[in-house]
Amino acid sequence: MLLNKYQFVIDGEQVETKVERNGSGWHVVSRGVAFEIEQRSDGLYIVSNEDMRLTVAAVRHEGVFYVDLGRVQLEFTEAPQGTMGHGSTEQHREKDKVYAPMPGKVVKLLVSLGEMVSEKQPLVIVEAMKMENLVLSPSNGKVKAIHFAAGDQIDTERPIVELELES
């Protein structure tokens, strides 16, 4: 049986899933939790496990996934290619480097060398597509290196900031 693996970024967090066909429906494991999913009609699904049963709408449009859970509606995409299938050690290495998700210009650095930072703390303001955006810290740690200054052009290949992770 074919097993597909996916990784999504939902509300700032990566979520990994495994999906396989199960009779007329699918068996999905999402962050370790198992769900059975059956399609009810176009875009409508019944999702259930031992604890719950829910009718949900889900569609993909121009590369974006739209899910309506009734109380909450979410829009998200798959995680970027580069991070797919990384082993745990590699993940660890990535978490100590902070990259810009798109090329732009550094407007302001919000932290200085040696400063302790926490996960999701804003580190840098980057201007891209005429908007100012925040780059957030991927984890808790100490600022080990800063490779750019205000006014510098940046790309997505070289890290802006490096962290020494909390052990």
Binding site: Q14, S30, I37, L44, A58, T77, E78, K108, N133
Partner: protein, 506 residues
């Protein structure tokens, strides 16, 4: 089979209310003609009408507000009556005048009644004369600052300055202290001039925690007028109603009788015919004050229909055709409880900013006592040109508690993707203990809903990812689904560590 009341009715509106009126025409065996702008070619109201006439470009000024073009469309399709819906031209006395000259029956009040009630100062004066309670304040519009100061002093602060031609919160200023009066007066005048082309303003006492209670009335052309009980519309945001219900928990039978009688008195005094709404504010001590009369079918009319069993749009058509009010209208009762939630295209998690886009999934809740008045369907484009109301969800249940539970469930069953809505915000309002206890005042949202809830919990995250995996795993589901790998290269995926447009760091 008797002759239909009219041969063909032109529906001079769009979206959900046009759909609603077309359905009423159908139920009476009358053909319905829709009009549409270039932006609405594919819209639902055009699809269900017997004929549809293009009346101009997307801009309302050149289409839905263009009286000449609309009358021309009515003549060209042989219509003998016209229904204006709400908004657009519905309260513009030039439309009934234009209909009259063209020999078309206008389904609504006379131009004269519309003019009188459209002028808030004039109608206040008239209602004071017949003894309907008014909020203490100026009897006529003022010009000198001293007049406003005197009126404010005798009414007592806080006071509110309003535009005579006003509505929708424009040209309104709340003044809490004497020293702010001059500046607020000037600001209100500027705003009124800009919004209505008329800088006439007046002043009245500002009630801090009132309820908004309105009475539906129906008057025929033979001097009969009845009311169809109240609607409470206290849940408002920026003077826009978002949740309405009937009956109101605040009305005793005795108060309902008095307010209803006053509503009928207002309609009589204005020489009103057809369906209209008399709005009151009710304070905590049980005193009520006349606010204004709306001379159209209201957005929230379905809740009245649910508890009385009367089709108000059908009644509008009958009255316009000259029929007297039916006997069944004279023995109405309120059966059960009804609630309406307005489904606006707006981002409930981002300051209710208008949301535009294409509806990529649409499914409505179903079940006994659930009604959806909708102007949209799968594939509808929500543009910037028009009012953001897409649909109205209405539930009917034996009592208020059951109606609230049913509405929350219906909102959860309502699935709409591609355009943002404030369904979650409304669920949060309906779930609030103060709402459930009936403590509904016009300041409810600013008092109890200061922060909007936008958190995503772990289960929701797991569910969303599980569903997306199934969608992604389905082979070639549809042509719109682009290759997820190319999409994955877009920078927007990593939005998690990247807050768009947020520069408020310091």
């Amino acid at each position: 089979m008797p002759q239909p009341l009219f041969k063909r009715i032109l529906v001079a509106n769009r979206s959900e209310i046009a759909v609603r009126v077309i359905r009423a025409c159908r139920s009476l065996g009358i053909f319905a003609v829709a009009v549409y702008s270039e932006a609405d070619k594919q819209s639902k109201h055009c699809m269900i009408a017997d004929r549809a006439v293009l009346i101009g470009p997307p801009s309302p000024r050149e289409s839905y507000l263009n009286i000449e073009r609309i009358i021309q469309a009515a003549k060209q399709t042989g219509c003998d009556a016209l229904h204006p819906g709400y908004g657009f031209l519905a309260e513009n006395p030039l439309l009934p005048d234009a209909c009259k000259s063209a020999g078309i029956v206008f389904i609504g009040p006379t131009a004269e009644a519309m003019k009188l009630l459209g002028n808030k100062v004039e109608s206040r004066g008239k209602m004071a004369d017949i003894g309907v309670p008014l909020i203490p304040g100026m009897k006529a519009a003022g010009s000198e600052l001293a007049q406003f100061e005197g009126a404010a002093q005798s009414a007592g602060f806080p006071v509110i300055i309003k535009a005579a031609a006003g509505g929708g919160g424009k040209g309104m200023r709340i003044v809490r202290e004497q020293f702010q009066l001059k500046e607020s007066l000037e600001a209100a005048r500027r705003e009124a001039l800009h919004a209505f082309g008329d800088d006439t303003v007046y002043l009245e006492k500002y009630l801090t925690e009132p309820r908004h209670i309105e009475f539906q009335v129906l008057a025929d052309q033979h001097g009969h007028c009845i009311h169809l009980f109240e609607r409470e519309c206290s849940i408002q945001r920026r003077h826009q109603k978002i949740i309405e219900e009937t009956p109101s928990v605040a009305l005793t039978d005795e108060l309902r009788v008095r307010m209803g009688a006053d509503a009928v008195k207002v309609a009589h005094a204005a020489g009103y015919t057809n369906a209209g709404t008399v709005e009151f504010l009710l304070d905590k001590s049980g005193k009520y004050y006349f606010l204004e009369m709306n001379t159209r079918i209201q957005v929230e009319h379905p809740i009245t229909e649910m508890v009385t069993g009367v089709d108000l749009v059908v009644e509008q058509i009958k009255v316009a055709a000259g029929l007297p009010l039916g006997e069944y209208l004279k023995q109405l009762t309120q059966r059960g409880h009804a609630i309406e939630c307005r489904i606006y295209a707006e981002d409930g998690e981002n300051n209710f900013l208008p949301s535009t886009g294409k509806i990529i999934h649409y499914s409505e809740p179903e079940g006994p006592g659930i009604r959806v008045d909708s102007g949209v369907a799968l594939g509808s484009e929500i543009s910037v040109h028009y009012d953001p109301i897409m649909a109205k969800l209405i539930v009917h249940a034996p009592d208020r508690r059951t109606a609230i539970v049913k509405m929350i469930d219906a909102l959860e069953q309502y699935k709409l993707l591609g355009v943002k809505t404030s369904r979650r915000f409304m669920i949060d309002v309906l779930s609030h203990p103060q709402f459930q206890s009936g403590n509904t005042f016009t300041n409810f949202i600013e008092s109890h809903m200061k922060s909007t809830n936008s958190t995503v919990n772990e289960l929701q995250r797991q569910l969303a990812a599980a569903l997306a995996s199934v969608v992604a795993a389905e082979p070639n589901k549809n042509a719109q689904a682009v290759d997820s790998r190319s999409a994955a290269r877009s920078p927007w995926q990593t939005i998690g560590g990247w807050q768009i447009g947020d520069s408020a760091v310091e």
